[in-house]
Amino acid sequence: MSTRLDITALTRDKKIIVCCGSGGVGKTTAAAAMGVLAATQGRSALVMTIDPAHRLSQAMGLDGLSNDPQRVDLDAPGSLHAMMLDSKRTFDRLVESYAANERIRDTIFANNYYQQMSSSLGGSKELIAMERVFEIASAQDYDLLIVDTPPAQRALDFLDAPKRMIDLLDGTLTGLLLKPYGLAARMQFGLFRESSAVTMKFLERLTGFEILTDLSDFMMAFSSMFDGFKDRSHKVMELMRGPGTSFVLVCAPARMSLGQADQFAARLTSESISIAGVLVNRVHLPFATSGDLADADLISELAPIGLLSDKSIDGLTLIARVTGAYTSQRALVRSDRAALKQLRESELPSHLVPHFNRDLHNMEDMEEFAAALYPYSVP
């Protein structure tokens, strides 16, 4: 049996809230609304978003968000700030701070491979988001940092992608590329039945070019700063595991979306990270608490509409239309309820936010969403 997720307690007590979820579930809006909520509770909050709706940044009174936090105009006891993560610039900054000297820094910047990786390679965005979280959390300028994670096919990508990157940057490849035919590499892979020299030949033959030259140059330059980088990624994970951090999974009331929830929680638990619960967004809630009516009863209940009609309106048509709208609404409510059944069977706390029937794009909308984050009394 699922319990209630109290978002207001998270925004009141936590230092970091990470909003995860697949694309199109309203994650960015939920993160912004949590920021509003925290500011209402008297805290200073920073919402870090990856790819915000243009109108969302406008709504926050910001002409497009920048890589550095900007204050949002909001009448609240606390304060709200927002920023958009520019992964390329953050990556560049990271290289700047860890490169041993200018020559190494410039070599990295000019490298073909680095250019592609820092802007497009899967995982770099997520890794960089984590890095920026660490940077901001360490500076302690805000009471609460709310992270809107990059859109991902699956919610777990936020955790998996940085791991893959670290794996890649780890000694395995570096060792292999720096001394591909050397003894060191062979010892490192002694357990495998492949020999790295043959592997390299094979890969070159498969790809038909010296794909490894760029990579090798990059690794050569990067290896000097890798320890700092890796050390930091461990610290980021520590931060994610800390008691001040909470993960919230944002879902749509759909079977596929909610089906991820348990898997997501299990995965977080295996990383010793705790998940606060699931925020189900855009739920169609019934307009009445009464049970379903048979169509005949419905029509008799709707009869007053027909009597009200003026000359320009055909009462019977109107009854039919209202019936149609009501039936549609009931179908949506029923379908959402069926999808939510999965959640009821799970142990995860949850909170439902109603479907607002419109784009949420200004500060008033965010406040309305924030209001919907308070615990409710109706089941």
Binding site: S22, T199, F287, I305, Q329
Partner: protein, 298 residues
């Protein structure tokens, strides 16, 4: 047919509906997804595997996988391929593939090429990743050609590129829902594919469209009604909320930069059995407005 769009616009359902239509029109069709691991297809309910699996007359589903694709490629094209079998299990190879930008993408596109050009299927429908990733994906052959001048990788990238450019064979279908952001993202993506990637784009599919059911006079009348009946109040509430949604959608559509070819798919109401997901009946309903894409039945 490459079906893409922002997350949450119903790509998977649209792709499934297109695939079903295509099969019913007599084309041997394969619906391909880009999931990273074995999962069940959300509509056809079968486990997605690299090998196409039949789910309906003339319709199979499968999943592209870079590693499987490379393995298959090596087996078929490289002399003494059995010598290399062990490598695919090795960490070195996996790390190499993950570390090489575009490698996985190119291998996946290569598999799509094979399915389209030489596997006994008449049509491939690709349930592609969402906007951001698909941009990277479609740019990979071109990027590869710039970096690699010779060899099998160059040769394959060129073949794939020509197939993507061939307007008679390949078409990108971008989906959106009638919300400002989704429409904007779809148009951006459509322009990118047309102008930068020089591909045939269209139509733009507007999914989950809700039309106004009431006139403004009717709405006014309903809003002014005061009634003790809970059911009636609930019904009026439902009418108002639907009307509001339709108005917001109208606005989003009007704000849309014109695109020559837009196809609207109405919001399909979930049926009893759908359980908060898309069922086969829903897919059938969705397929109806998409018929035009396959011309008249012969």
């Amino acid at each position: 047919m490459i079906v893409t769009g922002k997350g949450g616009v119903g790509k998977t359902s649209l792709a499934a509906a297109l695939a079903l239509l295509s099969a019913r029109r007599g084309s041997r069709t394969v619906l391909v997804t880009f999931d990273r691991e074995d999962t069940d297809h959300s509509i056809f309910g079968v486990r997605l595997k690299y090998q196409p699996k039949e789910v309906h007359e003339r319709l199979a589903v499968s999943r592209v996988d870079a590693f499987e694709a490379v393995r298959e490629y090596v087996r078929r094209k490289m002399p003494f391929s059995s010598l290399y079998e062990g490598f695919f299990e090795g960490r070195v190879f996996r790390v190499f593939a993950a570390a090489t930008p575009g490698f996985e993408e190119l291998m996946c596109l290569g598999k799509l090429y094979d399915l389209a050009m030489g596997s006994g299927f008449d049509r491939v429908i690709f349930d592609a990743p969402s906007s951001g990733h698909v941009k990277i994906l479609l740019g990979v052959p071109d990027a590869t050609l710039k970096v690699v001048q010779v060899g099998p990788l160059n040769h394959n990238a060129r073949k794939i590129q020509h197939l993507l450019w061939d307007a008679d064979k390949t078409r990108i279908i971008v989906a959106a829902v009638p919300e400002e952001m989704a429409i904007r993202e779809a148009l951006e993506l459509a322009c990118y594919c047309r102008d930068e990637r020089r591909m045939a784009v269209g139509p733009l599919i507007l999914n989950q469209v809700v039309r106004k059911r009431f006139s403004s006079a009717e709405m006014e009348l309903l809003t002014g009604m005061d009634t003790p009946s809970e059911v009636l109040r609930a019904a009026i509430g439902a009418a108002q909320s639907e009307y509001q949604l339709a108005s917001v959608q109208d606005q989003a559509r009007q704000g849309m930069t014109p695109w020559p070819d837009v196809l609207e798919v109405p919001r399909i109401l979930p049926d009893e059995e759908s359980d908060g997901g898309s069922s086969r009946t829903l897919i059938d309903e969705m397929a109806d407005p998409l018929r035009i894409l396959f011309g008249n039945p012969s």
